[in-house]
Assembly symmetry: C2
Amino acid sequence: MNAPVLPLTAADVYDAQRRLRDVAAITPTLSHPALDQAAGRSVVVKVEALQRTGSFKFRGAYNALAALDRAARQLGVIGASSGNHAQALALAGQLHGVPVTVVVPHDAPRSKIDGARSLGARIVTYHRERDDRDQITAALAADQGYTVVPSANSPHVMAGAGTVALELAWQAPGLTAILVPVGGGGLAAGTAVAAKHVNPRVRVIGVEPETGADTAASLRTGALAELPSVPDTIADGLRHTSPAPLPWEINRVMLDDIVTVTDSQIVRAMASAFQHLKVVAEPSGAVALAALEQPGPAPGPVGVVISGGSVGIGSFHRFMTDPSHWREPADA
Amino acid sequence: MNAPVLPLTAADVYDAQRRLRDVAAITPTLSHPALDQAAGRSVVVKVEALQRTGSFKFRGAYNALAALDRAARQLGVIGASSGNHAQALALAGQLHGVPVTVVVPHDAPRSKIDGARSLGARIVTYHRERDDRDQITAALAADQGYTVVPSANSPHVMAGAGTVALELAWQAPGLTAILVPVGGGGLAAGTAVAAKHVNPRVRVIGVEPETGADTAASLRTGALAELPSVPDTIADGLRHTSPAPLPWEINRVMLDDIVTVTDSQIVRAMASAFQHLKVVAEPSGAVALAALEQPGPAPGPVGVVISGGSVGIGSFHRFMTDPSHWREPADA
């Protein structure tokens, strides 16, 4: 039996790394004795909250635009996102001189919309209940000749995300496992391809919110699962009902495991990032750090990706002071 | 007339840099369009909140211990601090295998005391009103043979602090000015010596809290000033009544200017660091960023040092929600 042909190779990630050189930040890795103690092993945290526009998404967006031909660049690109992908795409467009349209829900946080607009993006809003986001995006793309840049479901976007793992492998050689958030699955797929190319024995473990474990469910059955409704979790960037198809093709064969975390664990991880690392992590960005609370089987140093920091000061405070997050979970 | 012989040379800072290699973090520089816009010029932020133990103090403490002879190492060191210097000294002692005693006020935040203790330091408490901290420190040092490591008033400590500026000069060449917090004055002195060695034309500007402007007052008269009482400011690390003597010898001839900031400006800078840079800055650590709000005369890119991130989540929230900090200052 032949190995399946995957939609992403390590060579694609190295190409992305070359394109991102001197453009994306080489984000720092941080550590703290309290995290080592919590995990019972040495912990290296890769902080993509300190990436340009505040999340790893900039890497994929920039790489996707770099791969466009001249005609496509002139016509412009479009992407749908309420958060990090919108800002990433806006900055990538500004740097490449490519017109960007982002399709955002009408009730998206003002700060995120303003962020994308101040970077020159055109904003198109839709109504969450009334409108179909993908339909609006596709219609505009067809009408205007825009290229659609998805937030995960694209080889170029996954390749950009994979550069996080290439950097981490160089900054912290000898990791035995890497914990990475899973939403659409692009970061996990890019990480698995890149990290295992550098070290085939490293375990790549995805982390999902307990209520939004669509990739975990898919891995259990081996087939792409669909959750009955949009997950209720504070990790707003991971509220997917099913994995994106292209990342799924990779994750189904390359992820070693998926673990899930509760909202309470996510909040405690955000607090830990603030107190120990002096870093702002948004809920979706903190899920891998939250998984450290769980007893892990494998020894050896573990890498953890904090994927983004887009959380307002008021929201941060509400998460920190909601007493329900500070009770011990029933199963602890 | 001969130039005065200063208690710190650029060679001392390069020595410190060599000792700190692979021990101190090379902290990242961050930038954000909103900061550029606020300052009307390009802004590069050097984030020492991401240094080990959460502040630049680790550099000086480690360098001071590295310079001790064998006998002094065996006897141990002592330092007085309610915060960052205590934790820095504790970690430096752990790494060097040198016993550390820190003298802390009895009402210092539990988290900071626990931080130093968990790094193996012996804790001696004193009563702020009743006891003389320096007397206790000196008595213990004399009795036990400890070497006193001050938080600023030492050439080795200033040299360690100066490595911040060496890194910044390499990470962001061509800065026309550097804004740096001034408490005891060690960071400002180290920065002035190092930055002007690399580029004699760079302006080094100290920043103090408006109510704790002891170095500003000293610069005005040319003689070491003494404030009548401990300054009332949220910048608890900068509540000095007079500059430390050795840093003052340098700052009086090398600082280009001192500017002051209000507590409200400090709080807004902490909010800006959170929102735009995704970084936790403590009040004392944010004063240089706060000075960006003031119209600066010189054009060209400016460097800003966020010197520390030791602020609890609860305190951070109280600063953010105190309405007095969000009114426009009367003189704006």
